[in-house]
Structure formats: structure tokens, C-alpha cells
């Protein structure tokens, strides 16, 4: 079973490697959105430092949404999705592997470049650990929730915008808790409660989201 | 009785804009919904009966 999972993840990563430019696009988008804020608001370091947590989190949220609608669509075209549906493996597990691969491709680059952007905005260096921690816990939740939306809007006209409409309201708790972790750390308090809450949300999402994704895929394909 | 006169009632203790603004918009929104429901029903019944006169619901 684990071998099949590993091969599923391996396949997804291989496919992503073949489309390297997609991976770069999300990270680039993230950088550009963050750079727009100083341009729009002026270079006042005090202001930038204050809004940095929110800006980085909102930009990460938007960037992680970019590749969502491609999560299952190529599988639909080449018939892999139907194989997934009739395979003896539980669909929820296959889907979990797919989401994990998606996170490795789209989430991890965001986590990796976030510290650079944070320094650009003047965030104190000792907050970078909290930033990386909160993003590392938060972006998988975004991938899990986003995958539900991707499965529901599979093969629909106007899928991309619709997907954003469905998914963004559900992202709110992650945004609040994730940026809250940074804000409380910046105020000299412990960020631990926020990070624990994010962990709880991650576990919750990892347990329940795969079922919802699997159900949504069956509905969309049948 | 709370109100000395009708003018008093409509003035709402100086908050007429907010109180009547709330009630007017609520009434308008609800009436719109009811009207839309009736239009929707009339349209579908007309289609189902092939464009003849529609029996009053």
C-alpha cells in the first residue's frame, strides 16, 4: 500500500518536474504581489514592518491558489482519474498523496522564499522562524481545502474564478491564525498557541478533506 | 403609549434615517424576492403549458 502511495507521489513529482515553469510561476507571483505593496503604500519602513505578516500571508494564499485548477484536470484528460476511481486502493488515500505532491510543488517554494520577502519588508530576523513555521503548517491546509474546490469545479466553464469564490472564504481561519502567529510574536508574546491551532487545523483537514475530495471527484466524473 | 403623535413616530427620536432605512430596505428586498419568485413560476408554467393562458396558482 505504501509502495503504491510512494509511486503515486513519485509520478506526480516527476510530472511536475517536467513542467518546471509552473512551479516557478507560483513563486514568482508570490514575489511580485508582495513587492506591489511597498509600491502602492510607499516605502515607510515602520508601516511595511507592521503590515508584513498580513501581506505575506495574503500573497501566499493567492499564490497557492494559482495551480489548484490544474490539480486534477490533466488526469481527467488522459484518463488517469478514471483509473484512480476504479482502483482497489481507497480513493481518499490516492487523493491525499496527490495533495501532498501538490503541496511539495506549490507550497514548499513559497515557504522557502518567504523569509527573503519578509526581510525585504523589514520584519525582524528573529520572527523568520515563526514565519516559516506558520507557513509550513498553513500551506498544506490550503492545498487540502483547495483540492476540494478543484475537485468540485473540475471541467467547468469559468472554473478558475469559481474556484477562488468557493475556496477563499474557507481559507479565512488559516489566514487569521497564520498571520496572527507572526503578529503576536512581533508583539513579544509567544506564537505557540497559534502554531498549535494551525497544527490542529492541519490534522483536522488531513483527516476529513480527503473524503470530501474523493466524494467530489466521484460526483464530477460520473 | 410611546409616541405622542405620528410625527413623533416617524422621527424615531432623531434616528429616522437608520430605523426607517433598515425597515425600508428589508421590505424592498423581501418584496423583490417574492416578485422574482412569481416571475420564475409564471415563466416555467407558461413553458410547460405551451404558451397558453396560465391557470392562477
Amino acid at each position: 500500500m505504501l509502495a503504491i502511495l510512494r509511486s503515486a507521489i513519485h509520478r506526480d513529482l516527476l510530472l511536475a518536474w517536467r513542467r518546471r515553469s509552473d512551479v516557478a510561476t507560483a513563486a514568482l507571483f508570490f514575489m511580485i504581489v508582495v513587492s506591489l505593496f511597498p509600491l502602492g503604500l510607499g516605502p515607510d519602513p515602520e508601516l511595511l514592518r507592521r503590515i508584513a505578516p498580513g501581506v505575506i500571508w495574503v500573497a501566499a494564499l493567492l499564490a497557492s491558489m494559482l495551480s489548484l485548477n490544474r490539480m486534477f484536470s490533466s488526469d481527467l484528460v488522459d484518463g488517469v482519474l478514471e483509473q484512480m476511481l476504479i482502483s482497489p486502493m481507497p480513493l481518499a488515500l490516492i487523493v491525499l498523496a496527490r495533495v501532498f505532491a501538490h503541496w511539495l510543488i506549490s507550497g514548499v517554494p513559497l515557504v522557502a522564499i518567504a523569509p527573503l520577502l519578509a526581510l525585504q519588508l523589514g520584519l525582524a530576523p528573529d520572527l523568520l522562524v515563526v514565519l516559516v513555521g506558520s507557513l509550513a503548517l498553513g500551506t498544506p491546509i490550503l492545498s487540502l481545502i483547495g483540492a476540494i474546490g478543484a475537485a468540485l469545479t473540475l471541467d467547468l466553464r469559468g472554473g478558475g474564478v469559481l474556484l477562488a469564490l468557493l475556496v477563499l472564504p474557507l481559507y479565512v481561519p488559516v489566514l487569521i491564525i497564520g498571520s496572527g502567529a507572526l503578529e503576536s510574536a512581533a508583539a513579544g508574546q509567544s506564537a505557540q498557541p497559534h502554531l498549535l491551532l494551525l497544527t490542529a487545523l492541519l490534522i483536522l483537514a488531513a483527516v476529513f478533506a480527503p473524503w470530501a475530495i474523493a466524494a467530489a471527484l466521484r460526483i464530477s466524473v460520473e | 403609549m410611546t409616541w405622542a403623535s405620528w410625527t413623533d413616530f416617524f422621527a424615531m427620536g432623531g434616528y429616522s434615517l437608520y430605523v426607517w432605512g433598515s425597515y425600508a430596505v428589508t421590505a424592498a428586498v423581501i418584496l423583490t424576492e417574492v416578485a422574482l419568485l412569481r416571475l420564475r413560476r409564471r415563466a416555467i408554467l407558461r413553458q410547460l403549458t405551451g404558451g397558453e393562458g396560465v391557470r392562477r396558482p
Binding site: 468540485l152 467547468l156 469559481l162 472564504p169 496572527g180 | 433598515s22 428589508t26 420564475r40 413560476r41
Partner: protein, 255 residues
């Protein structure tokens, strides 16, 4: 076994889940609920405007409560009921459940809009601003987005069965998220603003004020039932039309 229980058992509840049987039942129920809504509304408005006293802190502006609070209650309650129908539809594969869920969504969104509008109208004189990022207003706004998402997804899918089922999954995911959203927004609010001003009236609320609010809440209930039954009838008719068209099309193909 006592007779009522036996009789209850003999009724086949799934019988009423068929749209064709449901259609006339709903048709006879609609006027009753509509009149009940009108009666409760009249009683509630009378109590609210002529019986309930002036609030000694807020003055007359508190009278917005008679629509604001019932609308806010309904907006959340309708989402729950919608998710319940959605869950029933997914579990038992009944066609009517999905139709009920999609019939409720516009009314739920409408009450959310009313709650937001009246909240803002109340906020201006009380807080001095049309909009405050208060925990309740903010989560109500997100609830509105959830309703819009549900309706947009349903509208984007052509096949009604797929639309019902996909929207049902979204409603269930949403209903799991609503408490999480509410608590995170509340928490965010206390972090950023300290104690927030409550929109609900003073704790010592006169009994007549409460009575007016409850009467209006009943009116909103009856209105919701009447409107959603009326809408579900239209939906049943529309699906019948679409099915007929498909049959016509298939017949055309065979010739």
C-alpha cells in the same frame, strides 16, 4: 406496541421524498405559511413599535433589533438546514433534498444581506461608522460569501443531479467550517481591537422587546418555509421541462 407508533411506522417517509407527490403537498402548504408569516410580522411590528418601550441607553435606534437579530439568526440557521438537506441528499440519494437545499440558498443569502445592512445602519449611530470589522459582522460577511459560492457552483453545472450533489459537498464542507471561521474571526477581533461593542441590546432587555424580537423571528421562519416551498415547486417544474426536452431531443435523434 401502541397504535400511533404503528401508524407512524406504516407511513413510508420516502413516499414524500418523490417530487411528484411533494408538489401538491407543498402547493397547499405555501399559502398557510405565507399568511402565518404576515400575521406574525404584523404582531411583531406592532409589539416592536407600539408596545416595547424606548431603550434608555440607545434611544429609538435599538428598534432595528426587530429585524436585525431575526435576520442574523435565520441567515445562520438556513445554512444549517441547507447543509442538513445536502447531507440527506448525499446519504439517501433523494432528488428532493438537493432541490430543497438549492431552494433555501437564495433566501439564506437574502437574510444575510438584511443582517449586514441593518447591522451597518445600527453601527453608524452607535459606533460612528457604517462598517466596523466586528467579529459578528465579519463572520456574517464570510457567510454571505459561502452562500454565493454555493449558488455559483450550482449555477455553473448544467446537469442538475451533478449540480445538486456537488453543491451538497460544498455545503457540508462549509458547515464544518462555519464554527471554525466564527471562532477564528472572534479571536482575531479580540486580538486587534480589545473588547468590541456588542450589537445586541443591554442585558436587561424589557420583556416586550424580547417578545417583539421573537415574534419577528417566527415571521422570518414562516416566510422562509413559504418561500422555499414555493421555489422548490418552480425547481421541480423546471427539471420536468428539461427532462421533457431531453426526451424530445432523443426522439428526434431516432427518426
Amino acid at each position: 406496541m401502541n397504535p400511533p407508533a404503528l401508524a407512524l411506522r406504516r407511513i413510508n417517509w420516502f413516499h414524500y421524498a418523490s417530487p411528484q407527490t411533494f408538489l401538491p403537498v407543498a402547493g397547499t402548504l405555501v399559502p398557510w405559511f405565507a399568511w402565518a408569516a404576515a400575521a406574525f410580522c404584523a404582531a411583531g411590528l406592532y409589539t416592536g413599535f407600539f408596545v416595547a418601550p424606548t431603550d434608555h441607553q440607545q434611544g429609538e435606534v435599538y428598534r432595528i433589533i426587530f429585524i436585525h437579530v431575526p435576520a442574523a439568526w435565520m441567515s445562520m440557521f438556513i445554512y444549517l438546514v441547507m447543509a442538513l438537506w445536502a447531507g440527506v441528499g448525499l446519504a439517501f440519494n433523494t432528488r428532493l433534498s438537493g432541490m430543497m437545499a438549492s431552494a433555501l440558498a437564495p433566501t439564506g443569502a437574502l437574510f444575510t444581506v438584511i443582517a449586514l445592512w441593518t447591522g451597518s445602519m445600527w453601527g453608524k449611530p452607535t459606533w460612528g461608522a457604517w462598517w466596523v470589522w466586528d467579529a459578528r459582522l465579519t463572520s456574517e460577511l464570510i457567510l454571505l460569501f459561502l452562500y454565493f459560492g454555493f449558488m455559483a457552483l450550482h449555477a455553473a453545472i448544467d446537469d442538475p443531479r451533478r449540480a445538486d450533489r456537488a453543491a451538497a459537498v460544498l455545503a457540508l464542507v462549509g458547515v464544518v467550517n462555519v464554527p471554525i471561521i466564527y471562532f477564528s474571526v472572534k479571536w482575531w477581533n479580540t486580538l486587534h481591537q480589545g473588547a468590541s461593542v456588542g450589537l445586541t441590546a443591554a442585558p436587561a432587555m424589557a420583556a416586550t422587546m424580547f417578545a417583539g424580537m421573537i415574534l419577528m423571528a417566527f415571521a422570518a421562519w414562516m416566510y422562509t418555509i413559504a418561500v422555499s416551498l414555493h421555489r422548490v415547486r418552480s425547481i421541480i417544474f423546471e427539471r420536468k421541462r428539461d427532462a421533457d426536452r431531453t426526451v424530445q431531443y432523443a426522439k428526434g435523434l431516432r427518426q
